[in-house]
């Protein structure tokens, strides 16, 4: 398994150790694939239980594959007092899944986060790396439509179709 070797090599001297390695695996695959973790245990001599413990202790790791689009709804205190709970519920209704789940067509993963640190703008939603501020339930549909079409203003008009290039366009938008 080549990417894992490279990740291990890059992190051989890094301070973060196991967590840094798991973070890179997650960046590579979008989640922590079971086989890679088994491989990791073999390569590093750590027990699989130990690795599983770390992988499930921290919120940033996912053992399940994620959808093409990732929607994170902030449930920090500032967002909570401005009714972010209603926003998550609307996402759940629109997508037909519960928080933490992925739609059956693998398009969307819906997750909640404890605080994104943009508290003055709450409720905050991040879709594919793009921040949306002061979100109300009525904006949810629009955010999903925009995420589907790659979050570019031009593709905003033809909303419902998701072109094959959509997620690539999204990736470019992702960086700050």
């Amino acid at each position: 398994m080549k990417p894992l070797r490279e990740i291990l090599h890059r992190n051989r001297n890094s301070r973060g150790g196991q967590i840094a390695i798991l973070q890179e695996i997650q960046e590579t695959y979008g989640y922590l694939p079971k086989n890679t973790l088994i491989e990791l245990a073999k390569e590093t001599g750590r027990s699989l239980v130990d690795i599983y413990g770390v992988a499930t202790f921290f919120k940033a790791f996912s053992l399940k594959p994620r959808g093409r689009h990732l929607v994170s709804v902030c449930l920090g205190t500032a967002c909570h007092v401005r009714a972010s709970a209603q926003v998550v519920e609307e996402f759940e209704r629109q997508l037909g899944i519960a928080r933490g789940e992925t739609t059956p067509d693998n398009e969307f993963t819906l997750q909640t986060v404890n605080c994104l640190g943009a508290c003055a703008l709450g409720p905050v939603v991040v879709a594919d790396g793009q921040y949306f501020s002061q979100v109300t339930p009525s904006m949810v549909k629009q955010i999903l439509t925009r995420a589907r079409s790659g979050l570019t203003k031009d593709s905003f008009k033809d909303s419902t179709t998701s072109s094959p290039g959509a997620s690539r366009r999204t990736d470019r938008k992702k960086s700050f």
Binding site: S14, R15, G16, G17, Q18, I19, A20, L22, Q23, G53, V54, F57, F58, K59, A60, F61, L75, G76, T77, A78, H80, V81, R82, A83, Q86, E89, E90, R93, V113, N114, C115, L116, G117, A118, C119, A120, L121, G122, V124, Y131, F132, S133, T136, P137, S138, F176
Partner: protein, 619 residues
């Protein structure tokens, strides 16, 4: 700024900064665009892009400069533009207005119609420091973020950066530096308020030999607080400088910055800053030929609130599960890799260079006797002006909430602030005369914490807030202590039943008993403070609990089971609610008052969120 060769001595450093300063002695009109995560979320990236294009197209690059910085604090008004040296402030700038602003800056003019409008008087105010939000603050740390592009070490150097470090390195002994920090009275800004100078002395007194480690705790897990993110994004070199001084004072040879993974921009800027400092010879072996060696590495957190606790943070740095452990041995005896370790919060580190530059005596003049210096708060929630505010310790809560924050953002009165995050408590409006410092907040049943200040008005249900925090803590409890693991869960269940209308007086008794038990019988700070949100709301807002229990009513209109939606007389009959309702529970005729079928209504709030006439009421 591309870095040149390594600087090999203090004289080299002085000559280099002198050259930098003469090179840019002429003040040029500069547009400053705050582009922290919050700024970017509001569209600052596009503003900078348009500004750059305009300056190039109009060939103004000699008359107008652009500086993209971190957050200045007034997040509510972002994206904003600050014009230097005049100090003109343009709030909520649209990208289409940018060409006009560029022209105005080039021509030395002010665009009246785009200026900030005072919410009370309605008057336009030109200068940033005359706006109420800024005027009432003391921005010793935040204002530095205006001066530097965080990706340019040259900007930081021209703002007097690394001078404090060089002053310490060249002219003091480690003992003197420790003593200076101790004399300043600086207390840890992470929340506990331990005297920083004492902590440093303890580390300095540890035997050498195995090496010592200092850590910057940037695992800002407290929901509602984001000053650490802002300082790291906007001025990463100030933290590196603080850590350099700390290392010199304590004899530490290794530094670790532990940054939470939810802050990608902060991580990016810190990595850039570390590379620049290394390239310039500020980090590494034999710094400036003095024989002092120190380097910093960055470790990304992976999302666990408990990792803000020292011993959990140490385990997490070592790549393990972030479970706290029993103390002693304290981290200063046995920390990362069993080496003596001192951990300070981001804001604490940001204060260090100020202390060394100004001197302890001058620094401790700010604030009150046992609470020196300033503190940054994130003023958020139901308040008009939201953002980061930096105030001298000892100022009253009221001065922040009603002065700087300009009062309630909604239609109802402000009834409380919540400080200290999940470990803190709610302070009712009747206590807003209290000064803000470690001791008086603790006396009021809350804590200073890292500085989250969430404002709550009469549409915020305090029982729901308590439920929110216990829900948060039950998810974040590491599970090691039974009382914390099960206690937070049971408290959450009890609160859930109360908000669901199934509560009894027995629930309250049990809740109180449980809260005290959890407080007394858990090992780490998370568990010991986990009851604070419950106990402080029970103490100050018992009547709200009773309304839920006895009248099955939620006075704030938040708890779903206990409220109902209705449409009032101000309804214009536009039909937007009927269209938005996922249940088709709203009916009526155009231009007449619509009606909600209560049997069908799931109380999702869609109708209320789309109503332009504010006609949907929750009771």
């Amino acid at each position: 700024m591309k870095t040149k060769k390594k600087l090999s001595s203090i004289a080299d450093f002085r000559a280099y900064t002198a050259r930098l300063n003469t090179g840019r002695a002429q003040p040029v009109a500069t547009m400053v665009i705050p582009s922290g995560t919050c700024g970017i979320a509001s569209g600052a990236g596009e503003l900078a892009h348009v500004a750059r294009k305009e300056i190039a197209a109009k060939k103004l690059d000699r008359t107008v400069r652009l500086r993209v910085t971190g957050c200045h604090g007034f997040c509510q008004m972002e994206p904003s533009v600050l014009v230097e040296p005049a100090g003109t402030f343009y709030p909520r700038v649209g990208a289409h207005d940018m060409p006009r602003i560029v022209d105005a800056v080039a021509g030395g003019k002010v665009l009246q119609e785009l200026l900030y409008r005072d919410p009370h008087t309605g008057q336009r105010i030109e200068k940033q420091n005359e706006i109420g939000f800024f005027r009432q603050q003391m921005r010793t740390i935040l204002a530095r973020s205006e001066k530097v592009d965080p990706t340019q070490i040259g900007d930081y150097l021209m703002d007097g950066g690394y001078e404090a470090f060089v002053k310490a390195l060249g002219g003091s002994s480690p003992k003197q530096v420790c003593a200076e920090v101790k004399a300043s009275g600086l207390r840890g800004r992470g929340g506990a308020g331990f005297l920083t100078g004492r902590k440093w002395e303890m580390l300095a007194n540890q035997p050498d030999g195995r090496g010592k480690i200092i850590v910057c705790n940037a695992d800002e897990g407290d929901p509602g607080a984001y000053m650490d993110r802002s300082v790291l994004e906007g001025n990463p070199h100030s933290i590196i400088e603080g850590m350099l001084i700390g290392a010199f004072a304590t004899g530490a040879n290794e530094g670790v910055m532990y940054v939470r993974t939810e802050y990608p921009l902060a991580i990016k800027h810190v990595l850039i800053a570390l590379d620049q400092a290394r390239a310039m010879g500020l980090l590494g072996g034999n710094i400036f030929g003095t024989g002092f060696s120190f380097d910093i590495s960055l470790v990304k957190g992976a999302g666990a609130f408990v990792c803000g606790e020292e011993t959990a943070l140490i385990r997490s740095i070592q790549g393990k599960m972030g479970e706290p452990r029993q103390r002693p041995p304290f981290p200063v005896q046995k920390g990362v890799d069993n080496k003596p370790t001192a951990i300070n919060n981001v804001e604490t580190w940001a204060n260090i260079s100020l202390i060394i530059r100004k001197g302890a005596a001058e620094y401790s003049r700010i604030g009150t006797k046992n609470n020196a210096g300033t503190k940054i708060f994130s003023l958020v929630g139901k308040v008009k002006n939201t953002g980061l505010v930096e105030v001298p310790m000892g100022i009253t809560i009221d001065a922040i909430v009603h002065g700087i924050g300009a009062g309630s953002s909604g239609k109802t009165r402000i009834k409380a602030v919540q400080t200290g995050g999940p470990s803190g408590g709610c302070i009712p409006a009747s206590n807003f005369h209290l000064p803000i410092d470690y001791d008086s907040l603790a006396g009021a049943g809350s804590i200073m914490g890292s500085g989250g200040m969430i404002v709550m008005d009469e549409e915020t249900c305090m029982v729901d807030v308590a439920k929110y925090f216990t829900g948060f803590l039950k998810d974040e409890s590491c599970g090691k202590c039974f009382t914390c693991r099960k206690g937070t869960q049971r408290m959450h269940e009890l609160l859930d039943e109360i908000t669901d209308g199934k509560g009894s007086i027995g629930h309250l008794k049990l809740l109180e008993e449980l809260a005290l038990a959890v407080k007394d019988t858990t090992m780490c700070g998370l568990g010991q403070t986990a009851s604070n949100p419950v106990l402080s709301t029970l103490r100050h807002f018992r009547s709200e609990y009773l309304a839920h229990i006895e009248q099955k009513r939620c006075p704030a209109g938040v708890c779903r089971t206990l409220v109902s939606y209705s449409i009032g007389e101000t309804c214009t009959g536009c039909g937007a609610c009927a269209k938005a309702c996922p249940q088709k529970a709203v009916g009526g005729e155009p231009r007449r008052r619509y009606v909600i079928d209560k049997n069908n209504c799931i109380k999702c709030g869609m109708c209320r969120s789309v109503c332009k006439a504010s006609a949907v009421h929750v009771q």
